[in-house]
């Protein structure tokens, strides 16, 4: 397809804006990471602290990186939608259609027609989670390996779940705790909070475990390398040769596969929990009754 000069320029702008945040993240990483640190396992590094009530608000790597990832996703979306046409003329349009239609289908299959509007939310969740996890591929601190980030998402899901449980009124919500028998009320109450916690810990733990194993492997391979190849003269002996290539193989599982899988699982659990929390039959029954009453009055 022949495109105008303006179209091409805008395309280039979008691509630059897609790559720029990641490049900025890498530059920040290079500028702020102390060289002498060696191989250690720590949480996100704090750039600065904003004093807030209750707790200080730490601006850490995960906050910066998730912001950068968000900007990347935004421009990726803009790039895909750029030049959208009823008669397909650009390849990227197929990709955009694929994403939208497959997520639409997934949402309708798992949540039902009533929750059709959740498709963009699920797209955003999948994209943010997957891109955050995959950002470790270019050496950034993956925001998903910070419990606060995933916890924030889980709290949002918890709010949604509670909102749908409350749809039939607070009394119905409170009554639902005493089922099947009133004795189980404390356990039901606990399980309510177990959902977001288990969701966030699953995601965060999987990504962090990848980082931990990568670090352990790096330490182990360094030691092994200096043991086996330490006799090489000069600088050659100091280079840990075994760390070349071998971690990459494991990284395919721990970073790429696990990252995408956890994003999918998190989205799936969100769909299941939100749609499962909504007592649909009861809600429509009440609605009908209300309408009947209105008509009578």
């Amino acid at each position: 397809m022949k495109t105008s000069r303006r179209f091409q320029l805008l395309d280039i702008f979008y691509i630059i804006m897609m790559i720029l945040p990641l490049a900025i993240g890498m530059v920040i990483q290079i500028l702020t990471k102390p060289l002498s640190e060696g191989i250690t396992l720590t949480g996100a590094r704090i750039f600065f602290t904003i004093p807030m009530p209750l707790q200080d608000f730490y601006i850490t790597e995960s906050q910066i990186n998730s912001l950068l990832v968000t900007v990347t996703i935004l421009f990726f979306c803009l790039y895909m939608v750029h030049g959208l046409n009823e008669r397909v003329q650009l390849k990227r349009q197929h990709f955009a259609e694929l994403i939208v239609q497959s997520v639409d289908k997934l949402v309708v299959e798992n949540m039902g027609e009533y929750f059709k509007g959740y498709a963009p939310f699920i797209i955003a969740m999948l994209a943010l989670s997957a891109f955050s996890s995959l950002s470790s591929l270019i050496g950034l601190f993956p925001p998903t390996s910070d419990i606060n980030v995933v916890g924030g998402w889980a709290i949002l899901v918890f709010i949604l779940i509670t909102y749908y449980k409350m749809k039939c009124g607070p009394l119905y919500y409170l009554k639902s705790f005493t089922e099947p028998i009133a004795l189980l009320a404390p356990i039901n109450f606990l399980s309510e909070f177990a959902t977001p916690i288990s969701m966030s810990f699953r995601h965060y733990g999987n990504i962090l475990s990848g980082t931990v194993i990568s670090t352990l492997l790096a330490v182990g391979l360094s030691g092994l390398s200096s043991m086996i190849l330490g006799w090489l003269p000069g600088v050659l002996g100091n280079i840990s040769w075994l760390r070349v290539g071998i971690p990459a193989v494991l990284s395919i599982y721990f970073d790429v596969f696990s990252g995408c899988l956890q994003a999918f699982i998190f989205a799936m659990l969100t769909m299941m929990n939100v749609s499962g929390a909504f007592p649909m039959d009861e809600y429509f029954e009440r609605k009908q009754k209300k309408q009947a009453k209105k008509q009578l009055a």
Partner: protein, 165 residues
């Protein structure tokens, strides 16, 4: 540089992540989901429209075809009947003309015959008169006497009648 411990719970960081997800949701909805959905709906509408147009056109073509076929068969019938009636009228005209011609021919023949008869009679009359006069003169000369013309006339007439018979 200071780092967070591996597990540390910070409500503001959580709130930040929550808002981040919400904002991304709105952005994705506005910049990816809505345009693609709109485009898909437009495409569906276009396709439906095209299909409808095609079907309409096909229906119209079929009905037109039927109409034309009907008209065509009617035309053939009409042509047949026209030819037949023309042939019939031509035939009747032909016989009429023939009869007229025959009549005329007969009339002419009869006229001619009558004329001829008339001429014949006239000629007979003249010849008879001539003969009478000639005979009278000759008889006068022969007998050397006056012959009564009237007697003579009767005689010759009977004679000629005998001859003419």
């Amino acid at each position: 540089m200071q780092t967070l411990p591996i597990i540390s719970v910070n409500i503001w960081d959580m709130l930040y992540a929550l808002l981040n997800l919400l904002i991304l949701f709105l952005l994705v909805k506005k910049f990816l989901y809505k345009p693609v959905k709109k485009m898909l709906a437009n495409r569906q509408a276009t396709i439906d429209n095209e299909y409808k147009n095609a079907e309409d056109a096909k229906e119209k073509a079929l009905s037109d075809q039927k109409l034309y076929e009907e008209k065509l068969s009617h035309a053939e019938e009409e042509a047949d009947s026209l030819i037949q009636s023309a042939v019939l009228s031509a035939r009747s005209r032909e016989s009429q003309i023939l009869a007229e011609a025959k009549d005329q021919a007969n009339g002419i023949l009869r006229q001619a015959e009558a004329n001829a008869q008339l001429e014949l009679k006239k000629a007979e009359q003249t010849i008879r008169e001539e003969i009478v006069s000639v005979g009278t003169v000759m008889a006068g000369k022969l007998l050397e006497r006056e012959v009564n013309t009237d007697d003579h006339q009767k005689m010759i007439d009977s004679f000629l009648n005998n001859i003419g018979e």
